[in-house]
Symmetry: D3
Subunit: 309 residues, 6 copies
């Protein structure tokens, strides 16, 4: 039985260890080549939300990459619950965790061009949500910048697999942050349609209709799926379709979904303001309320309380 310490613990290749002991060889293909995949859920009031959906997607990412973590899904779910539970004493009652499953193809052998028979590196770990840093986004709305760099095409590396290869998105973030340190990047896809940002999906609203990019060109987020489901339930027309800068510049409202943000209003894009500039817009507000109800947790309040702090 483990003693409570003020260091987080994680699952690392079969054992629960303090995070500082979960060390990776620099010859691990996860480091050398980003040759791995992951998935990340969050807790609401210390309970993991839709873990099964994230785990399923993680296994799909593994199949795509030809990596096998060697554990059945049920075991990974139990480990995930365990890791969160062991770390709960380290956060306040109004804080919450990201919790991630990660696997790399393992440590490179002598001939790295022809690796086979590697032992995968498996990690399950959690990290407190950056609630305070992101709280202003709910008050002011997110500013989006569309960088020049295009999202990698699905015939090169599918954006639907959540891999450890993030440089394409990093390059986009660097340009967006240079334009505005508080901005988030949303990249265009190979056809010039809006795709996605780092871990985030975009939705635009016009004339009461909600649209989000097709799944082929993005990581189809769990929060994205929830919003689509909620819109349908609320009788708001919703469509997965090609959307581009014309749609963005003429939108009445816009919002972003991600595991940590759930649903978060955007104020503008490339210096243009959505609608009359007030956030959240009415549709975003309804969907946020529906999300809060579905989750049984007021994530907006949780963020906004950090503004006072």
């Amino acid at each position: 039985m483990t003693t409570l310490t003020n260091e987080r613990v994680c699952y690392f290749n079969g054992r629960i260890v303090p995070e500082s002991q979960a060390q990776i060889s620099f010859r691990d293909r996860g480091f050398i080549a980003g040759d791995g995949c992951f998935d990340t859920a969050r807790t609401f009031g210390h309970k993991i939300f839709r873990l099964k959906d994230h785990i399923d997607r993680w296994y799909a990412s593994q199949r795509y990459l030809g990596i096998d973590c060697g554990l059945p899904a049920e075991r990974v779910m139990a480990i995930t619950e365990d890791v969160v539970r062991r770390n709960l004493h380290l956060i306040d009652s109004d804080d919450d965790y990201w919790v991630s499953q990660r696997v790399s193809r393992g440590v490179n052998p002598d001939d790295p061009v022809a690796p086979s028979g590697l032992k995968p590196t498996v990690i399950v770990e959690c990290q407190p949500l950056p609630l305070k840093a992101r709280a202003p986004l709910y008050r002011d709305g997110m500013d989006i910048v569309v960088p020049a760099v295009r999202r990698i095409g699905p015939d090169m590396l599918s954006p639907r697999a959540k891999t450890h290869n993030y440089l394409n998105l990093v390059m986009g973030d660097l340009q967006a942050k240079a334009a505005d340190p508080g901005a988030w990047a949303i990249l265009l896809d190979v056809n010039g349609n809006l795709a996605e940002g780092t871990g985030s999906n975009i939705f635009v609203v016009r004339d009461g209709r909600v649209r989000t990019p097709e799944a082929r060109y993005v990581l189809p987020g769990v929060s994205r799926a929830i919003v689509i489901e909620l819109a349908a339930r609320c009788g708001i027309p919703v469509e997965e379709t090609s959307i581009d800068l014309y749609d963005a510049y003429t939108a009445d409202e816009c919002f972003i979904t991600s595991t940590s943000l759930c649903i978060c209003p955007a104020r503008g894009i490339n210096g243009r303001v959505f609608g009359d500039g007030r956030v959240p817009g009415p549709i975003t507000k309804r969907l946020t309320a529906a999300y809060v109800e579905l989750a049984g947790f007021d994530f907006v309040g949780q963020y906004l309380r950090r503004l006072a702090a």
Copy 2:
């Protein structure tokens, strides 16, 4: 002063340590995102070849990614020489090393979407060349398979930067190895021209003329530059240009260049045999001889001696 052990040592964030102590946090962006870059030289008879060219390219990769290793080039060259020297006692006189410089953007802070002020992770390390495993390539010629997956386009992530994001090439290798476990993958670029494989450049020869893909779509290798220079010196017409499957299927000869292989003949591609199938072809032979002379080292002999072993 360090005691000689039978464990390799490496440079790790300012210190020389045994490789087993050069451990990376799983929160390092190199692991989480492949957010780093590297370069790799090799030794010929225990002497590093064209180190300056590799170091220059490493700094260019850093500039592209907006990463700064924090060390001047001269210091990195000295460290590199030192790392090789400290590990020479671990290999035989007829063995040689790869030696690599690596840098990642550092360990992710709380909000991984907006990282700044990170301390980069810097590693200089060496690894014995897989001489025995690759020796048959010089006897039989390499078999190339062109997979269906396309090389990432330069407006997404430039192939000219040698980064830690290798999944695009890994996906190509997986298809090629499924077709033939001994085959090497060479991917097509976004325009359907031959591009490159994992760490390797391709050259085709027809009617005495040598051609290799344009630098924009590939990592322009140091060995590639040497071969271009040697061809010019030998009076063999050589061109950096678009080459495609028509060029490959109608080629008289074909060869691959890479740091470890220097120049290595290819036997066929997608089941087609180059020329009359004998390797190396006459132009490949001349360029190999010129390479050996330039390097002052018979790398072909070094490989072929492993066949007997």
Copy 3:
């Protein structure tokens, strides 16, 4: 009235002749330029299946190419039935025929760049199905290889017309057969989505949903339409949409449709195995059963009986 011989007869420019007398001038544009189109139905128990659908598509191909066979559809249907009937005595009761209508633009005049007023060459002919050669596919599942060559784009030559220009698919087959002599090629389209193989459409199944490429990028097969119709009838969700290698690598099941194969399970693609590797998967099984019922003919049994032979 014709005497029964052991040579097949065919319709050739207005007459029924032994196949050996249906000879084409080498100046026929069908030979010189592949300048023609065709369609192929099959018999089930010696009865032609869905002939009307094939004939309609043949006329659409003619319209697209600006070729006019000069015969009304009803006449071609009658000829087709007649050709089959005249050749039935040449096959066993458990064998069946492919039966094809073919038309070329005719024999080239002096100036082949500006041909007009040509007399089309029209052929209706049948050929025994290669039941024995293909029987193992039903037992083991088909192995698919996705070659590097892309399917011709619809703004160049529409894949929806069934023409005599097959070299694009032949180039794909050659690469696939080089990787594995028993494999079938399925090419990607210009957008990197799965398209089709020689005379074959692909379907993937995941989470109980069936998907097949959009008709714009493929020849929309008659068997493909039947499977879509049967899936709807069986309450299985089915969609014509973009599918790519991510879909293929993460699929639970996969199958191929074609006139001869009707519906045939696939085992794997590019060395990856679908689902747990057992064929046919449950959805494929249901759709196959529904197809057999619709056709009133057990084509799977017909194939599998050849394995014992």
Copy 4:
């Protein structure tokens, strides 16, 4: 020894036969699939011009397609000379021949998707040049129409192989002839650059500089190579490069090269007139004169004499 008849003879699978006896099975893959390749030279004053260049290109086309005609190049050259000689008595002294080598993959076996071990069909044949029909082109200049259909991309089927798959070009010709029955089509390539027409290369001249599309996107004609060589010899700057409609609409002159036409002036494109509309322009005139001198034959005179007839 053969009797002189007024029917042309050709080489057909090993024998010299009257053309009417050179009949192809409708199951020949050349007919079914356009699965073959060819090359065509012409005679000047009854002597074959640059036969070796054409034969070399034919073998390259075979290599690309994976077809082997089974004969050495020297034998094919001798057959070609023989075929022409045997047919010379059938044309006037001021007429000339096209002479072509053709090979198809052979007659399809039972399972056309997996053919192997086929016996290729080989033909060498000649046909009188359509001198009279094309004579007005030299007097008036050719009118070019650029159709909407794009030339097939080199990653689908290389335009550098001279195959029997011409439907892409046929579709272009049909649109051009609909716009103007006397017009010739020149298609754009996948990048929107001028590519080629049926058997013809295009050159534009502006400010004394001659440019023609890059070889990757076209069949690099023997006449095209001659013109490039002649321009260099005459001190006229010449370049193989991307040229597009801007280049065409702003050109001072334009001409077409092909085996039959050698070099032929164009008057306009898409209704625009080149330069002041007089043909041939001065550079075209110089290159034509140089061509006539090189060939030792006044092909322009040969064409123009038909106008009077």
Copy 5:
């Protein structure tokens, strides 16, 4: 109060003036750069049809371009009604008007690369419909030519904004008119699908199903929306989807929609005739009748009456 004259008046930057007094500075960005947008409705029997839809689209075009005309939509609608009313006395009772709203970004300041704070130029004007010139289209059907030039891609300048930048369409019209002075151009989009012509949308009909290009690649016309709505109401299947030359060449019927033409039959495309060549086809006829009923105005009769004149 204005005196009735025989010069039309228009709204020009706040005032109603004779058209000849509505003069633009050559430094207006509308002239210098086409930097403006517009929309155009028509009258039926002197009453403006669906003005609100046009005004909404005009404001969307402004948002896209970042131009603000400075007037509320209600005011622009009132001005538009006023402008028509003031000009009605200038046309016959059986004539009708186009009425347009136009805005440019205003007159360029000293540094045209960095303009800001400009005062927009706003015009509302009307023009008699060219009923006589276009009347034959309803009798004979329109002839369509698809030029080589591609419609500008939506990631360059969205075709959904109705701007003053028409050169791309003008270039298409010039090629079409060169092929046939009476023809209309319909351009292909970046994917080779049919897009649109100058102010016109295309519909094809096959097997009783109506299809029109997706809105992303075209200006989605008000008449187009009406036809889609009417088809649904009439129980005719209708779809916004990719359609290409295969669809066009195999269509049974085809028609064009535009503000002035409402719905107008097409006879052929690129020299091919739709169906049996009789216009209008049965579906076109039904939709035209439905349109006439919806509009409460027989626009076909209005056009056809000019033929007698």
Copy 6:
């Protein structure tokens, strides 16, 4: 003979008039459709520089668009000189002019879709250079932002014609100015290579080599040609080639050329600084000095003197 006033005069359709009298009908296709083209030279010390080059390019733009200004080049040159001369008294001795030739297709007739026989609108006008506004660029270097919008492809509307359709570039400028009001936009072309900004060409310098985008994708500026010529003269390697963001981020120096700026250093791009951030870099300095010498005019001094003012 005209009296000197303090209003500038211009050439307008055959007459010299005060600018305020050079008014355009709002039905002019230049306003309605941006259907026109122009060119702009500048004066150095009140003398027009390289006027002939600009006039030649203007006529090429006209040919491309199928517009004919109706005046011979010599006449336009004389008018241009005249217009400048008549306005010189309005600027200080240290000021200079832009002088432009403009032509539109003319005033739209009744049926704007089928215009022919229009009378072109021709203007020659001058405007003082914005020396003060742009002076800081020479001191600080220009900041470049690469917007998400791509430059229009050459198969849609050639960037080599200097037309009145600028919205594509305007959309890019709007995004760049939103990121940084002082920034200039440089757009990527359809292949993701750096193309151009509004009236400006880009050059990057690395390892002493100067590179600028290929002419096909940009308006090949007169200043660009001068710099290429000067580099060659100075022995600095210079190349027209594909350059992309990798080239930009790893460049040592970068500069912009345009008619007004001649050659102007850039400080950074997308937040990245070129080289060590000091401007101008050494190569830029040499080329600037050579440009000043060629022009016989110190344009840098002229700009920098405004900083003190």
